[in-house]
Symmetry: D2
Subunit: 346 residues, 4 copies
Amino acid sequence: MPEMMKAVIKPHKGPGLEVHQVPIPSIKADEVLVKVRAASICGTDLHVYLWDEWAAGRVNPPIIAGHEICGDVVDRGSMVSSHKVGDYVSLESHIICNICRFCRTGLGHICENTRLIGVDCDGGFAEYISIPAQNAWPNPPDLPLEIAVLQENFGNAVHTAFAADLRAKKILVTGCGPVGLMTIAVARAIGARAIYATDISPYRIEFALRMGADLALHAIDDKVIETVLEATDGEGVDVLLEMSGVPSAIDQGFTLLKPGGDAALLGVAHGPFTFDWNRHIVFKAASVIGISGRNLWRTWYQARGLIRSGAVDLSPLVTHRYKIEEFDKAFETMSSGDSGKVMLTP
Amino acid sequence: MPEMMKAVIKPHKGPGLEVHQVPIPSIKADEVLVKVRAASICGTDLHVYLWDEWAAGRVNPPIIAGHEICGDVVDRGSMVSSHKVGDYVSLESHIICNICRFCRTGLGHICENTRLIGVDCDGGFAEYISIPAQNAWPNPPDLPLEIAVLQENFGNAVHTAFAADLRAKKILVTGCGPVGLMTIAVARAIGARAIYATDISPYRIEFALRMGADLALHAIDDKVIETVLEATDGEGVDVLLEMSGVPSAIDQGFTLLKPGGDAALLGVAHGPFTFDWNRHIVFKAASVIGISGRNLWRTWYQARGLIRSGAVDLSPLVTHRYKIEEFDKAFETMSSGDSGKVMLTP
Amino acid sequence: MPEMMKAVIKPHKGPGLEVHQVPIPSIKADEVLVKVRAASICGTDLHVYLWDEWAAGRVNPPIIAGHEICGDVVDRGSMVSSHKVGDYVSLESHIICNICRFCRTGLGHICENTRLIGVDCDGGFAEYISIPAQNAWPNPPDLPLEIAVLQENFGNAVHTAFAADLRAKKILVTGCGPVGLMTIAVARAIGARAIYATDISPYRIEFALRMGADLALHAIDDKVIETVLEATDGEGVDVLLEMSGVPSAIDQGFTLLKPGGDAALLGVAHGPFTFDWNRHIVFKAASVIGISGRNLWRTWYQARGLIRSGAVDLSPLVTHRYKIEEFDKAFETMSSGDSGKVMLTP
Amino acid sequence: MPEMMKAVIKPHKGPGLEVHQVPIPSIKADEVLVKVRAASICGTDLHVYLWDEWAAGRVNPPIIAGHEICGDVVDRGSMVSSHKVGDYVSLESHIICNICRFCRTGLGHICENTRLIGVDCDGGFAEYISIPAQNAWPNPPDLPLEIAVLQENFGNAVHTAFAADLRAKKILVTGCGPVGLMTIAVARAIGARAIYATDISPYRIEFALRMGADLALHAIDDKVIETVLEATDGEGVDVLLEMSGVPSAIDQGFTLLKPGGDAALLGVAHGPFTFDWNRHIVFKAASVIGISGRNLWRTWYQARGLIRSGAVDLSPLVTHRYKIEEFDKAFETMSSGDSGKVMLTP
C-alpha cells in the first residue's frame, strides 16, 4: 500500500483546482477506505471550481473535490461488519449523524448535521477516499462503471420521480440536465402515460427524446403552453417535475399543471422570485414538494431495483470521459450544455 | 305559500346591495326549496358588496347575495328522495356538475363547472333559496342556529386542518379571521401538541387564545420568529396553516417551518409576490398543499363528527347578529376586524 | 329501430341459460341505450349459469345475463348531456346511487345500494342494453373490440395492482386467471422489479410468462416457497397480489411476504378458513387491503392511461370467440382453465 | 460505585424468577449505564415468568428479566455524545442493528436482527442496566415516575392509534388491557368522534370509561353487535383497533367494521384460527395493518408530544406498586385482570 496519492484539490480560496500528491486518508473505526475507480461531475462541483458566492461562503480549503464516486473497498475500520475488502461500492455523498430528530424519523436526507463530501470534507476526485461504511452502497460485481458512478446522482432523479404518483399520468419535466434526463427514464419505467419535457439546449432536447420523452420542447422558442395543452386535450399535465430552477420555466410548469396536480421541485433558483401563489397553488389545490438529495436509504434500494430489473437503462448518460488530471477540460465540457454526464478516472 | 319574498340583491353593477321583494324561486326536479333561518357573511360577500375588481369581473347582476345559509326544506323536486320536507339543513355553496373528470374522481371541490351560489347564481340572503338536493346537508333538529349557519365556512377550517397530520405536532396558524379561529379549534381537537397563531388585530389575537392557541402574537409588533423559535426549542413548527394571504406572514410562516414540514394554504394573496422558493420549499423538503373549498363531501362528514362529538365548540364564533335589512351595518362590523362571524336573519 | 332483440336469459330458477327474443329495453331520462358490439364472460356469469348457492340466493329470473360489455350509444335520455349517439363505449357493471355516504366520499365502489348488471338487473348478453349514462365509458373510435370489451375486467387488475406501491418492488401474484394475467401486465407497466406468479393450470402458468412474469410456478407441484426465496436472496416479496381465493395459495403468499410488506386481496375464498393471523399479519407488520370492483371512476381513468400509452397490451387476452347463441360452448371453454378471456358477439 | 446489584433473574429453564446479587453490567463504547428508578410489568414478562412454550423456545437463562424501565444515566461509553450523566431516561426495549434493509428504510421496528431486552439479553428488573445510548429516551426532569416508566408500553398504544386516521371517526377498541386502555386515551386525544370498547373484565370495562370510551361493553354478556350498531345508526365503526388477540373478539370487531374501514391489529392470537376472509376483508374493501412494537423513533416523538401537551394523561394507569423483591405478588396482581399497570421499584 502506497502512502501518497494523486488528488484534485482546491488548495486555497479562489477559482480553479489543482492536482497534488497528498497522503492517502486514514480510516476511523466506522469507516471504509475506497480505491476510486471513477467519479463524475455534479453541478455542485462546478460551483466549487468556479468559486462562486455559495462556494466562497461554505468551502474551507484545502479540500479534495468530488462526491459522485464508485470504487472498491480496500480497508475497513474495526467496527465495520457490513462491508468487506473487495466490495464494489458507489458512494452516498451526505454523511449523516444518525442521532438528530430527522435521522431518527426516517428523514436522514435532511439531517441537521449533514456533511457533504467534496464540500465540507475531503472528496473523491482522487485515488482513494475514506467514508463511513454506511455511505458505501454495495454493487453487484458486474455493474458497468458508467452506471455505478451515476447512482448517487441517479438517486436525485428517483427521489423526484417517486415523490408523486406517476402511474398512468401525464408528466411535464422542466429542465433536461443529466438529472432531468434520468428523471424522464424513471417516469417512463414506472408507468407515466405521457412525458413532456422542456429545456433550452438543443442537445438536451434531443437527448430527452432518447431517454423516453414523448415530446421535448424548447422552453423559449417553442409554444410550450399551447403545444402541451393541445397534446393533453386541453387538460394540462397531472404532475410537474421541476428540474430547472428557472422562474420562467417554473411559471410555465405550474400554468400547465392541472387543478389538483402534484409538483416535485428539485431545481434550485438563483434567489427569491415573483410567483403567482393563488393561481398556481391555492386555487389550483396543487400539492408541491421540495426534493433534497436522496431519501436515505430508501432511494438507494429503489434505484437498485430499477437498474437491476433493466427498467431504467443509464448507459447513454455518460457522454464524455477524462482522466482526473484533465479536470479543466472536463469542467468545460460539463458547462457547455452539450453533454450528458462527464466521467473522470484516476 | 306566499309568492314573493324579501331578498338582499345586487341590482346592477357597482358597489352596495339593496333589499327588494322578489319572486320565491321555483325548483327543478333535483332541487329543494329551503326557507332560510339564518345566513352568515363571508369575505366573498364583502367583495360582492364592495364591487372590487374580482366581483366586477365575475358577478352578473341582478343577483341575490349570500352563500352561508341554513334553513328548512319546504319543498322538493320530483326526483329528490334523499331529503324530505321539514329537514333542517346547512348549504354547501358550490354547485358541482358530477360529470367532469374531477367530480368523477373524488375531487368535486375543484369541479371544472362549479357555480358558486350568491356569486354565479342566486344566493340566500333572502327568505327562500332553491338548491340542488345534494347541496343541502341534513342537521340534527337540535343543532343551534349559530352552529348550523357556520358549517359551510367551518368546512374550510376542517379541510385545511385535515390536510396535514397534526397529531402531536407543533402548528403555526398565520391569520386569525373566522376561518383561522375555527382552524385553531380543529387543530386542538385533533391532537396538535402546540398551536401558535398570528394576526394584526388585537381582537382576533385575543380570540385565538380563547379558541385554543397556546400563544397568539401580533405579526408585526411582536417578535414572531424569535418567540416561536424559543417556544419550540429552536426547532420551528411541524406544520404551517396559512390563512392570511399576506406575503410577509407567508414568509414568516415558512421561515418558522421546520425542514420536512407541511404547509396548507387557504389564504388568498392580492397577486403574485416574491417568495424564497429555495429556502422555503426546495432545500427544506417542505410539502405544500393548496386548499380550495371543502372536499365534497368528505369534509362535511368530518365537520359533522367534530361538532356532534363536542370536540369542537363553534358557539363563541358568532359575535354579532343582524336582520338582513341591516346588511350595511353587518358588513361594516365584518370589515372592522373586531368581530367573529356576523349572522343575518330574514 | 326494431322492437325485439336476441338475448341470453336466465328464464327461471335453475341451471342453464336460453336464447330468447325479448323487447329492446326502454331508457330513463338519465340512461343511454347501447347497441352491443361484444361481451366477455366473467366468473360471476359462470355462477349464474351454473346456478350455485350464491346465484340462487341473489338472482331473480327472468333476467338477461352478462356485464362485460362494449358497444355504441344509439339513444339517450332527456337529461343526458355527457354522451351522444354514436359514442363507442365500454360499460361499468356497478350501478351506484351517488347519494349514500360511500358514493359521497369517493368510495362508489362500495356503494351501499349497488346494483350489478346481469345479476340484479338486465345485462348485456343481448343486442341492446340500457344503462345510466355515467356507466358508459367513452372509448376512442379505433380501440380494438377485444380491448374495449375487456376494460371493465381489466379495471379489477388495475385496482388491485394500484392498491400498493409496486415501483422497484418484487411482487408475487397468486392466481393467473384472466384478472391475474392482466395484473401481471399492469405490475410490469408500473415498474415492478420482479414478478413471480403461481397457478395450477399449465396453460395459465405459461400465459403468465407471456404477460410479463419473470417466473411462473405450479402452486402445488413446484417448490414455490424455496424457489421464490432463492430468487429474492431469501428476502421474500415486497407485495402480494392475491387473485386466487385459495387458502393454501394465500398461506403461501403470506409466507413469502416480507415483514412490512403489502398485500392486496381480490381473490374470493369459498368460505371462512384457518389463517395464521400472528405470523402473517401482526408480527409481520403487514398491510392488507381488500379489493372490490373498480374505484369509481378513478380506476377507469388509470386503465385508459395504461391502454392508450401502450404500457399495457391486452390484445393477447381474448383467446376464444363465440356468437352469443353458442353460450354453452363458451362457458365450457371458460371453465376449462385452458383459456384467456372468452368473447361473445351478438 | 458499588460492584454488585440486586436483580430479578431467571436462573435456569423453568417457571419462576429469583432475586440474586449480580455484577453491575459494564458498558460498551456506544452504551449508557442506567440506574433504574422504576420498572413496569408487561405481558411478555408474564410469559417469561410462567415459562410457557414461547418463553421455553426463546429465552436462554440465566437472564435478568424486565424491559419497561426508566432511570438515570450514571455512565456512558466513549462514543456517546447524545447523552450525559444525569439524564433521566425511559428505555426502548428493542435493540436494533441500524444496518439491515429495514433499519435503513425507516422500519427499525421490524429490524431483522432485533434483540429484546429482558428476553434476548439482560433486562431491567434490577438496580442497573446497560443499554445502547440510542435506546435511552431523554425525559424532562419533572416527568412523574409513573408516566416515565410507561412510555415504552404507551408507545404500543400510540403506534396502534396512529396507524389509522381516527379524526372525526367512530372507533372500536377490542381488548382493554393496559395497552387497550392507553389506546382509548390516545384515540380521544387525536379527535375520535366516538369510542366503543369491549373486554371481559368488569374492572377493565369500567376503566375504559374512565380513559375516555363513550361506551364499554362486556364482549360476551352484552349484545355488542346490536348495541354498537344502534349507537352508530346501523353504520358500524370506521376503525377497529384490535388489542385482544381473541378470535371471537376479532370476528365481532370485523363484523362491526364498516365497508372501506381500517383495522389496526396489535393483539396476538394463541395460534391460527378460522376467519371469514371474504366478508371481513375482501368484499368489505377493508384496510388491515399489523402493529409491531413502536415505529423507531417516530412513535417516541409522538408519545412525547401527547404527554407534554397534556392531551393524554397516563397518571391513572399505574394502579399497583411493589418492590422488585415482591415480584411474585406483582405478577399475581398483573394476571388477575383487576389491575392497570403494575410498577416495580428497586
